[in-house]
């Protein structure tokens, strides 16, 4: 029995890759792996988010809790997250979660002095670690430095609160590593979806028994543009199989016009088309790689401990022994 393996060798084809968006094909595996990958990307890939806020003064119109909640939802660049420690199992700070290995400190101190309403944005957050900052921080800086027009200033960034003359906000925030399962603010995924790749076969012979009007009517019955009619040959052709949403509308239509079996559509059960959109805290590609790594770690964690195996072997020997006597 030793040396036997039922391992699969999946293949991947990336169709499109941008910083925050990726589309790829995953083949030669089953839905359980595809779904585990999706679930891990959404809920178990770690990121960094503000988790503790200490408010020194707040005379804004929003209460302290409201502002703390908003701060928590600000996406922070989380390239460091995989190497960071969770505060709860950090030995350097005995779990109070305020050391360099498991936390990043931020401060924000803004006071409105002018007559104009002042926007407090994520750009006002000062990080003690240049690796961890609000995701849009750089865009804001490019604007600010040279621009003379104050109305252009701070156009980017996420608005936290607006201040009028004399109001101020002064606070200290601790960002920590966490996962989406704990709170959605730690989820790095905006959307992760996968679908079975559809295979569409048109019964050409049967299709030719339809008039052009009937064909047009049939093509129109699909809510998404999957089929079209070739203007020259007047044949029905598949233009975009992946636009098919498994809605069965064309199949119902075929039956309604008394021509069942006009088209056969079935999902390829070992081929998946994934779309991954990240929130910007890590790249979409890194999100997938991290998800694979996390899933591997999870599997390693559910391996049987050695003592459990030994106990069982002893029991097995006993059973064999008894079997011999009987």
């Amino acid at each position: 029995m030793v040396g036997v393996s039922y391992q699969r060798f999946p293949t991947v084809k990336i169709r499109e890759m941008k910083d925050e968006y990726m589309k790829f094909e995953l083949r030669d595996t089953d839905a359980s792996i595809a779904n585990a990958l999706r679930r891990v990307m959404i809920a178990e890939v770690p990121t960094i988010a503000i988790d503790l806020v200490e408010i020194m003064s707040n005379s804004s119109v929003l209460n302290d809790e409201f502002i703390s909640h908003r701060l928590g939802l600000i996406p922070l660049v989380s390239k460091k997250a995989m190497e960071m420690r969770f505060s709860r199992d950090c030995d350097a700070c005995d779990g109070d979660g305020q050391c360099q290995y498991c936390s990043v400190e931020f401060c924000l101190n803004v006071r409105c002095e002018g007559d104009q309403t002042l926007d407090v944005t994520s750009g006002d957050l000062r990080s003690f670690d240049p690796m961890v900052m609000p995701v849009d921080a750089n865009i804001g800086k490019d604007f600010d430095e040279d621009s003379v027009d104050p109305s252009i200033q701070k156009k980017s960034g996420i608005i936290i609160v607006k201040l009028r003359r004399g109001q101020e906000l002064n606070l200290r925030a601790i960002a920590r590593k966490g996962i989406g399962k704990d709170h959605a603010k730690w989820s790095p995924a905006a959307t992760v979806t996968f679908m079975y790749q559809p295979e569409i076969h048109i019964n050409e012979q049967l299709m030719e028994t339809l008039t052009l009007d009937e064909k047009e009517d049939w093509v129109e019955s699909s809510p998404t543009k999957v089929f079209d009619i070739d203007p020259k040959t007047h044949q029905v052709v598949v233009v975009d199989p992946e636009a098919y949403t498994y809605d069965d509308e064309v199949i119902k239509k075929s039956e309604a016009i008394g021509k069942p079996g006009l088209v056969e559509i079935y999902p390829l059960e070992d081929s998946f088309i994934f779309t991954v959109e990240s929130t910007g805290v890590i790249s979409a590609y890194q999100l997938v790689i991290n998800a694979l790594e996390i899933l591997k770690q999870k599997l390693d964690a559910v391996r049987l401990s050695d003592d459990a195996q030994e106990n069982d072997e002893q029991f097995g020997e006993l059973r064999q022994h008894l079997g011999g006597v009987l």
């Binding site: 890759m17 899933l295 459990a308």
Partner: protein, 117 residues
Amino acid sequence: MNAPDRYERFVVPEGTKKVSYERDTKIINAASFIIEREDHTIGNILRMQLHRDPNTLFAGYKLPHPLQYKIIVRIHTASQSSPMQAYNQAINDLDKELEHLKKVFQAEKIRIENISL
């Protein structure tokens, strides 16, 4: 007020084993594995991988209750294997599959970047 802490969902309490093994008393080569703080993510891939093993006669998992953060994986094997052997084999195979997937992903990224250059 009395809501359980959020971390209860994924932190194994002290003094509790991550995986415990319980042999079936009536059927030989049948056993249940109780895995603490795991859900469908692990349960389903394990089950499907076990189904690929011809020595596994039965493999299933359940999440007994949404507020009990554990899954139970039940395995019944043929006499030439054992539930423990099948379980270990499934984890090893899945581990290798994920390692392979990671490699092909990285290779594919390099391929894509070279095309766009």
